[in-house]
Amino acid sequence: MSEVHPREILICTIAKLLDGVRHVAVGASSPIPAAGAMLLRALRQQAGEKGPRISILGSVEHNFFTNGSAELFDCAGQGRIDAFCLGGGQIDGRGNVNLVGTGDYPQTPVRWPGSFGSAYLYYVVPRVILFREEHTPRALVEKVDFISTPGVSNDGVYRSGGPIALLTSKALFRFDKTRPGFDLQSIHPGHDLAGIKDATGFQFAHESQPEQTALPNPQTLALLRGRVYDEVAETYPDFAAQMRREIERPLSHAS
């Protein structure tokens, strides 16, 4: 078995962050979060448990909804979705997410597609994992140019959900909503604190000697590379094929 691929660390980290959820929703273009959810399900089922229900949005094959595109939001509003992964063009140190564009709204020089359902789901899904592979000062900013959806809400505002973590290609942060702000939880292999600081546009709390992100144990990695990639391939064939290609050859891009 080859060394652990950096994306496999992300997948395994997501599986850990999701541990205990009953129902996780992932986007149709989010193969890494989906793989994380599928890995968790496989691990739980290996342990004789039921494992989480996984809804893949926009997928015809893995569509468990029958009431149109509003059902996901209704389902979340009913408290039936425990976890969700959210990306963002910009994410700032207070957990605010910008999916609209850079510069002054509305004539944003760079326009992204838009806020999708974030201005609702981020409020009502208990465990939102912010997931952005790009870890640069451009993506992780001090203050977003447009708040599609805020990381925290004032007292008295109905909010049963929100961010619990931020996962990038370099590190895992936990979100502390009381401060509010991010705490560096662990650094992925091949990276260090100084590099993380340079790459991060916002201030964050950290230990003087941060932990390294845990690697999957051999059993978990075997499960991932067997059953889980098979399942991933049903919905994300290109991604599964790419992962299987890359773990067969030396990883020159592991940093």
Binding site: V60, S69, S115
Partner: protein
Amino acid sequence: MVSDLRALAKYVEPGVRLALPVDYAGVSMAMTRPIIERNARNLDLVCVPTGGLQVDQLIGAGLVRSVETSAVLLGEAGGAPRFNAAVKDGAIALKDATCPAIHAGLMAAQKGSPFMPMRGLIGSDLLHHRSDWRVIDNPLADGGDPIVLIPAIKPDITIFHAPMADRFGNVWIGRRRELAAMAYASATTLVTVERIVDESLLASEMSAAGALPALYVTEVAVAPKGAWPYGLWGEYPTDTTEILRYARAARSAVGFADYMTNAQMEPA
């Protein structure tokens, strides 16, 4: 009930509010060029809840005054080039929303209510830029508890594509219930379909469960492969190559015009 696409396009008068479905629900791409030929301007688009190729093409053709949407994108082909350019140039008014707010506005219209309340949104810049949305304190709480009211969205026209209609005007929408929500909320609903079937869709419980009754359907026209290059659920997949071709061409206004003039109107 069955009439041709140009006849349907005549309903699209200048200044109407036009609701269009998300790319995977059944976009009547077959209607795009008849609408552009008809040249009705100052359209106010409502994307339910996001827009794609059709929205980009209507914007590129200069027909659009405003867009209410939760996102506009070309799926795997990335950002929507004419939408993005129009945003940058200030050529269209933006009513940026979030998916459930679009659904809430349509639901208000469906229920004959002036508004629907919606959780979330408070603290989002979306709310700051939507003067039509209103924050009140929840009247059923003991005090405080701010909540957003989304006003009813009542489109003049809804246009979508579906696998089949029967000859009585009932349309089969399957589990894409947002298409029904759009029709309920709209004064006029125009539908293109792959085929017309003889037997009433309401005749069996099985097909009735996924049928939009003729009561809500103004006109139906047959347009085989009418969602192309988008796919249609249960019928055919998306032609990603063609969407990528469009995305490259439409990076410039000239390229867009060239694509719209010369590209095929139907799948190969």
